[in-house]
C-alpha cells in the first residue's frame, strides 16, 4: 500500500470476509462433514467460538501497535533474534497462503470450467493481476472488494434459497449423532480458516479509524460463519452427509444443482474473491519481508516474489487429492499455530511489557 493510503473500518471488515470466505467455502462442507456427519453445524459453532477468540486476541495485539505491522513490533517484544524469527514465520505464512491460493484457484478452474486449459495459464493470469495491483497500490482494491462482497454474499444466500425446496430436512436429523471428539475434529479446518482474521496484524496501520478494531474482526468472523453454515446445511440437506463428505467442491456442486445455473454467478464472484485474497496475502507477505529485511519499498520484491510463489504453487502438491489431504491435515494446524499461538504469545509479552 502506498504511503497515506487508508481504508475504512467497513472496507477492512469486507476485506477480511472476502479473504476467509473464498477459500474456506470450497472445502469446509466436505471436510467438516467427513468427520462430523450431519452434525457439521455443531462443528461450525465450535469453529465460531474459536474464530471469535482469535479475532479478540489479534485485535487486542493490533490495537496496542496501531501504526506498525506485527513484523516490526515482534523484535521489540521478544528481543531482536527471536522477534526476527517470529517475524519471518508470519512473512512465510503470508507467502505460503498466497501460493496455496494460487494452486486452489488453478485446480478449481481446470477441473470444472476450463478443463482444456493448462493449470499454469490460470496461475499466470492471476499472478499478473496481483502484480499489477500491488504496483498500483491497493486502496482501490479495498474499495472494489467492498462492491464485490455484497453480490458474493447475496449469491450464497440466493443459492441456499433456490436449493431449499429440494432439500430433505431429515438429512439433518438426528441431532448430535456423532461423538464429541469427531465433532471437535471436524471443527478444526473451519476454525483455522476463521483464524485468518489475524491478517488484521498487517492491515491495522492502513485503517483510518482504529477504534474498536475487535469489531472489525468479530463482524467478519460472524458473517463468514453464517455463510459457511448456510452452505454446509444446504449441501447436507441437498445431497445428504455421505455424498457431501465425498464431494471435491461441494459448494460448486450445490450451485450446479440449481435450475438457474447459479454456478456461473458463483464462479464470477468467486474468481474476484480469490483474486482479492491472493493479492492480500501476497501484499502482506511482500510487506512483511520488506520490513523484516529493512528494504525501503515493497515494490522491489513484487516480481521475484511472484516468480517464487508461482513455481511453489505448482511443485508443492502432486494432484488435487494431495491438496485436499493437505487442506484437511496440515494446513489447519499450521495456520492455527501462526494466527493463534504465535499471536497469543506476542499479546502476552506486550501485556507483560506494559506491566513492567
Amino acid at each position: 500500500m502506498k504511503a497515506g493510503e487508508h481504508i475504512s473500518r467497513w472496507e477492512a471488515t469486507a476485506y477480511i470476509v472476502s479473504i476467509i470466505l473464498t477459500t474456506s467455502i470450497l472445502f469446509v462442507p466436505s471436510i467438516t462433514t467427513r468427520w462430523a456427519g450431519r452434525d457439521a453445524w455443531a462443528s461450525l459453532a465450535l469453529a465460531l467460538a474459536f474464530g471469535l477468540l482469535v479475532a479478540l486476541v489479534s485485535s487486542a495485539l493490533a490495537s496496542r501497535f496501531p501504526n506498525e505491522t506485527v513484523v516490526e513490533y515482534a523484535p521489540k517484544l521478544l528481543g531482536k533474534l527471536l522477534g526476527k524469527i517470529v517475524g519471518f514465520s508470519y512473512a512465510f505464512y503470508f507467502y505460503f497462503t498466497a501460493y496455496f491460493i494460487l494452486r486452489q484457484f488453478a485446480d478449481l478452474m481446470s477441473s470444472t470450467y476450463l478443463v482444456q486449459t493448462p493449470d499454469w495459464v490460470h496461475v499466470v493470469i492471476l499472478i499478473i493481476i496481483a502484480c499489477y495491483t500491488l504496483y498500483q497500490g491497493i486502496e482501490a482494491l479495498a474499495r472494489a472488494n467492498s462492491l464485490v462482497l455484497l453480490p458474493l454474499l447475496a449469491t450464497f444466500v440466493l443459492m441456499f434459497l433456490i436449493t431449499a425446496p429440494g432439500m430433505r430436512v431429515d438429512n439433518l436429523f438426528p441431532l448430535l449423532e456423532q461423538p464429541l471428539g469427531k465433532i471437535t475434529y471436524g471443527a478444526i479446518p473451519p476454525a483455522s480458516w476463521l483464524s485468518e482474521c489475524a491478517v488484521i496484524l498487517m492491515l491495522v496501520p492502513f485503517i483510518k479509524d482504529k477504534k474498536n478494531i475487535n469489531l472489525v474482526t468479530s463482524y467478519a468472523v460472524i458473517i463468514v460463519f453464517f455463510i459457511m453454515l448456510l452452505v454446509t446445511l444446504g449441501t447436507i440437506g441437498q445431497f445428504g452427509p455421505g455424498v457431501t463428505s465425498q464431494l471435491v467442491f461441494p459448494t460448486f456442486s450445490l450451485a450446479m444443482s440449481t435450475t438457474l445455473r447459479a454456478d456461473s454467478v458463483f464462479m464470477a464472484v468467486w474468481v474476484a474473491g480469490m483474486t482479492f485474497k491472493l493479492i492480500t496475502f501476497f501484499f502482506a507477505g511482500t510487506l512483511a519481508f520488506t520490513r523484516l529485511l529493512g528494504l525501503s519499498s515493497y515494490r522491489t520484491l513484487i516480481m521475484p516474489g511472484a516468480i517464487l510463489i508461482t513455481v511453489l504453487s505448482q511443485n508443492s502438491w502432486t494432484d488435487i487429492m494431495d491438496e485436499i489431504r493437505f487442506s484437511e491435515e496440515t494446513y489447519p494446524l499450521f495456520i492455527i499455530y501462526i494466527n493463534f499461538i504465535l499471536t497469543s504469545v506476542l499479546l502476552l509479552f506486550s501485556l507483560r511489557r506494559k506491566q513492567i
Partner: protein, 79 residues
Amino acid sequence: MTVVLLTLFFLAVIAIQIPTLVKGKNTREVIVYSLVLVLGMIYSYAYVLGIGLPNPTGAVEAIIEPASRVIKEFLAGSG
C-alpha cells in the same frame, strides 16, 4: 523449448528491473532482489526439468504432521 522460453523470460525481467535497482544505489535492495530471483529461477528450472527440490511445503508437513496425527487419533480415532 520450455527452458528456452523460461530463460528469455528471466533475461527480460533482469534487463528491465536490475538497471533501475542499480541506479537507485541501494545495495541491500539489489542483493535481496537478486537472492529471491535466483531462488525463483532455481525452483523454476528444477520444476521444468522434473528435478525434485526440498520444498517449504514439505518442511511444513514434516513439522505439523506428527502433531496432526496425535490430534486426529485423540479426537477422531484412527478412522
